[in-house]
């Protein structure tokens, strides 16, 4: 399998940070300043500046120095860094008599605890080079800033009848838009607009922006699926592409000892087993955490909540083809029952690699579409 991380270029990082995976409209992080504080353009400008600087400082710091530290401790470091930047800035602006500090209210110091900084640092910066982390920070900063300023302008115009303090309307058309309610409404329409923009101009990256309830089933050790799944390996014996190679390397899948002689074309019968439960006494915290199942920092985002589905379709004569598709919010670790002629198995994969594989696939599709056009 090619090293997907090597194919992550600054331009891709930039495109994804600003538009495709916009932190506020797609990843739904850093909402607090967007819905509550950015009710005017000047406050939105201040918050955008603070967020972008914080992102750059924290991501570069995380990538360069914080990798050896445990994740739980790094979160505290991000907040300390935020406070060290924001509090002196507040003091200076306050002393200089800028009213924007009082307009921003408690939301300015709250930027130190903004989830967008911690999430981008944990999800991206600690796994990548300083160079790419810097690009990601700038891109994410632009993505956040553009939403904050758009939202701030629309809400100030309709909520106060002004833009940057200058009167446009004689009276405020919809004062309610200055409340958090208005922030959510504006974000809803901006998210729909972004979706349309991506599907029109960047069709290769179009997706559903899913937000689904996670329904998980408890695993029982030693439980097997009712029906075997057939997977066709490559003739060279090399690892298969993403989904398939994950299948082959997954501890949950073992070749069935009693292979079926009726199979042709080099197909191998695999039996799906549930992964055995780890031995050893579980601590109280483990039991407590089992109800929470996944690492929030690594897997939380709805967009990333993707599992590879290896779909085997029966064509007749014992021939099987393997296709890979991705499905948002698919429930990992669940063996689904046979559906008509096809059997579907959902397999947990390395989501980071999958994400990058998707980027590459989308770029390829995009360039092919461009050639055709």
């Amino acid at each position: 399998m090619p090293d997907a991380k090597k194919t992550l270029t600054p331009s891709k990082v930039f495109l994804f940070g600003t538009i495709i995976k916009n932190p506020i409209l797609v990843q739904v992080i850093g909402l607090c300043p967007a819905v509550a504080a950015s009710s005017s353009l000047t406050v939105a400008l201040l918050l955008s500046f603070v967020t972008t600087i914080l992102l750059i400082v924290c991501e570069v710091l995380a990538s360069a120095l914080l990798k050896p530290l445990p994740s739980w401790f790094r979160v505290a470091v991000y907040m300390i860094t935020g406070l060290l930047f924001i509090c002196p800035l507040m003091y200076i602006l306050d002393e200089a008599g800028f009213s924007v500090v009082s307009d921003a209210g408690v939301y300015l110091p709250l930027m130190a605890a903004n989830s967008v900084v911690a999430l981008r640092c944990e999800k991206f910066a600690v796994k990548r080079s300083v160079f790419l982390s810097f690009y990601d920070a700038v891109a994410t900063g632009i993505g956040v800033s553009s939403v904050l300023m758009l939202s701030g302008t629309i809400r100030e115009l309709l909520g106060f009848g002004t833009v940057a303090g200058k009167a446009v309307f004689e009276s405020a058309p919809v004062p309610a838009l200055t409340m958090p309610f208005g922030g959510f409404v504006v974000l809803g329409f901006l998210a729909a607009f972004l979706k349309k923009f991506i599907s029109t101009f960047l069709s290769g990256y179009s997706y559903d922006m899913p937000f689904r309830i996670k329904r998980t089933r408890r695993r029982r050790p030693g439980r097997t699926s009712e029906q075997p799944v057939l997977i066709e390996p490559t003739s060279s014996g090399e690892p298969l592409p993403l989904g398939e190679s994950t299948v082959l390397s997954s501890p949950a899948i073992e070749p069935d000892a009693a292979s079926d002689p009726s199979l042709s074309g080099g197909a191998v019968r695999f039996q799906i087993h549930e992964a055995p439960k780890e031995s050893g006494k579980e601590s109280f915290a483990d039991v407590f955490y089992n109800s929470m199942s996944e690492d929030l920092f690594a897997r939380e985002e709805a967009f990333d909540d993707i599992a590879a589905e290896v779909k085997t379709e029966k064509h007749g004569g014992g021939q099987f083809t393997v296709g890979t598709e991705t499905s948002p919010s698919a429930n990992s670790d669940i063996v689904k029952p046979a559906r008509d002629e096809a059997e579907r198995v959902v397999i947990p994969v390395d989501l980071d690699l999958l994400e990058e594989e998707e980027i590459n696939r989308a770029l390829k599709k995009d360039s092919e579409g461009g050639k055709d056009g």
Binding site: V75, C87, A113, P175, P180, I213, K214, D286, M292
Partner: protein, 197 residues
Amino acid sequence: MTWFFDMTQAALFTIFIQNLVFNGGYGSSEAIRMSAKPKRFLPFSIMIAFFSTVTAVVCRALDSIKEISEQGEAVHSAIFGAVLILIYIATALILKLTLAPNKKFLSTLGIAAVNTLVFAAPLINRRAGYGYAESVGTGIGSGIAFILALMLINAGLRRLEANKNIPPLFKGTPAMFLYVAMLSLAFAGFAGSPLFA
């Protein structure tokens, strides 16, 4: 007894009138993202309530010191932020040494501690001039307000997921934002905020 009533009043005010998630937008990212995972509602809300209560009480105690209470917003924010970080690190270390939690648990603890909802509690208390009883009430109320927000958003997500009449452009995140906007509007009504001039 007055202490109890002050605390309950502040808690009820935080939950229903000044619901921090819907009326203030605090912790709204965490609320929306967590609402899709019903099994995590209770533990995460308990963590939020714990951190906001302890932070609010410690910050209130510090604010009773004359040298600190005379300082401006910037210094207060720095002190309250430092208190939150210290409480988080102390809690994480105590849990690590006593219960040996896994990495995921500690990451979740970090998200519950370092978010705008928890950090906002002492800052709002100071602005409102709350005493100890109200600070405790706000802390507990934050946790309950958070779980109420989770349940309401979750109920909406289920309906949005099942609704086939949503225009394709608004399916998913846009519809979810608009649904949360309606909830926010309802809570603004409880607070008596005027919608139109």
